[in-house]
């Protein structure tokens, strides 16, 4: 049981960290740039919100299958299969939780007072400096919310990780899948314990999100 929980936590942590590196630039582009294909990009980012997880899992499987481009490159590079591996689950989780990471940051960027951005220019700061010293610190709350949501959402996924990971004990069997198998095998006490832990993790993460959102000027503290 704790093995599966540990895998879940590990997956959520790795996914969240990688997601932040992707979500921040993506949110920046979506918040501040206008370009052809913007709407398409926004739709793609939001797609995992409505897509059945099995559909997403199916496409990720196709993408990382040993005979696919990505799958075979991975095979050559690391001499292991990307499908039914932890790394494969990370990839799938990144796609699955992408909107939860991008949207809060994008909203935080959009909510920035225009004068703050002008202030940076007036003070002779280039776009990199404005980002580092004004945009990012001012959006700290949004980044925290994004991290908490991405983490909680990854902890809670089921269909995608089952499709892509294959529920290999000690490798890709995460807590949510372990719970399902416990119920199937009528391991009542283990199941209720694991369910309670998952509930607690989600509760804590969402409490964090709501308390951050209640302080719109978190950055000011």
């Amino acid at each position: 049981m704790f093995e599966s929980l540990f895998i879940s936590l590990q997956l959520a942590l790795v996914t969240t960290l990688i997601l932040l590196c992707i979500a921040i630039p993506l949110a920046y582009v979506l918040a501040f740039k206008s370009f052809a294909g913007r709407t398409v990009l926004e739709v793609i980012v939001a797609l995992p919100l409505v897509l059945p997880p099995t559909v997403l899992g199916y496409y990720v499987l196709l993408m990382i299958a040993p005979n696919s481009m990505l799958g075979s490159a991975w095979q050559n590079l690391f001499d292991s299969s990307l499908a039914f591996s932890f790394s494969g689950m990370v990839l799938a989780s990144i796609l699955y939780s992408l909107p939860f990471a991008v949207q809060p940051i994008q909203q935080a960027f959009r909510a920035l007072p225009k004068q703050w951005l002008e202030l940076g220019k007036n003070q002779g700061m280039n776009i990199k400096q404005v980002f580092r010293h004004i945009i990012l610190p001012a959006s700290k709350g949004g980044v925290l919310v994004a991290s908490a949501l991405a983490f909680a959402h990854t902890m809670g996924e089921f269909g995608v990780v089952l499709m892509v990971g294959g529920s290999i004990p000690g490798e890709t069997k995460v807590a949510s899948i372990a719970l399902f198998e416990m119920v199937e095998m009528q391991q009542q006490s283990d199941a209720s314990m694991l369910a309670l832990i998952l509930l607690a993790v989600s509760f804590v993460m969402l409490s964090l999100v709501y308390s951050i959102n209640r302080k719109p000027m978190l950055a000011a503290s």
Binding site: P113, Q123, M217, A220, S221
Partner: protein, 220 residues
């Protein structure tokens, strides 16, 4: 040094038309609300699109014929808005030093503007007058080649206002930085202005000996 503005800009129904030259001096700009005073400053700062030319000394900031626009961050301006824009998570000191690599005379500026005891405060703990002085200090500290002030003393008590005018005047003498100052205060105009501009429905009119002159000034 000689500086020259020859540009136009459209803001809804208002056509901003600026034709003027100035030296390293203080220019007070008056005019009714909506006459384009703030827009004039924003165009000069490069924050709004304008067509024509802006030349500061030897440096060209805008030359529409050559399709050249110097970005705001490279114009080395100090810009104080009528409502102070401070970053709430930074102390007063860090707000003043924001983005500045080679500032000068920090101690003198904060002493002159009566900000010394406030250095470690956050903007939320400042009165509007104090916040406005912090914004002014920030613009002065970076040693701009042009200082743009949009009603910079509007939130100050009358007795401080007078002191601040002297500070500004002395600072201008020391650094020879041209200052464009928007003000509704006729007394302010009298005590500060080397030149007086008046904005009327978007048109920049140069006031000479109390008379408005719609002159088109050539550079040389």
């Amino acid at each position: 040094m000689k500086h020259a503005l020859h540009f136009q800009a459209q803001f809804g129904n208002l056509l901003l038309d600026a034709q003027a030259t100035f030296d390293d001096e203080i220019i007070v700009i008056s005019g009714e609300n909506g006459a384009g005073k703030t827009s004039l400053l924003r165009c000069i700062a490069g924050l709004e699109k304008a067509t024509g030319s802006v030349q500061m000394g030897q440096t060209i900031w805008l030359d529409s014929v050559a399709d050249f626009i110097l970005p705001t961050e490279q114009r080395n301006i100090g810009f104080v808005y009528s409502e102070a824009v401070l970053l709430p998570w930074l102390s007063v000191e860090k707000n003043i030093k924001l983005g500045v690599k080679n500032g000068s005379g920090f101690q003198k500026i904060i002493a002159d503007l009566e900000l010394a005891p406030l250095m470690q405060r956050k903007p939320a703990m400042l009165s509007s007058g104090e916040a406005q002085r912090v914004a002014l200090a920030r613009a002065m500290y970076r040693q701009p080649s042009l200082l743009l002030l949009d009603e910079p003393f509007s939130a100050q008590a009358p007795e401080i206002r007078n002191r601040l005018r002297h500070v500004l005047k002395a600072w201008q003498k020391d650094f020879h930085t041209p200052i464009l100052l928007v003000s509704h205060d006729t007394e302010e105009a009298k005590s500060l202005a080397n030149q007086h501009w008046h904005m009327r429905e978007g048109k920049l009119l140069v006031k000479v000996k109390g008379m408005l002159k719609n002159k088109v000034v050539n550079d040389e």
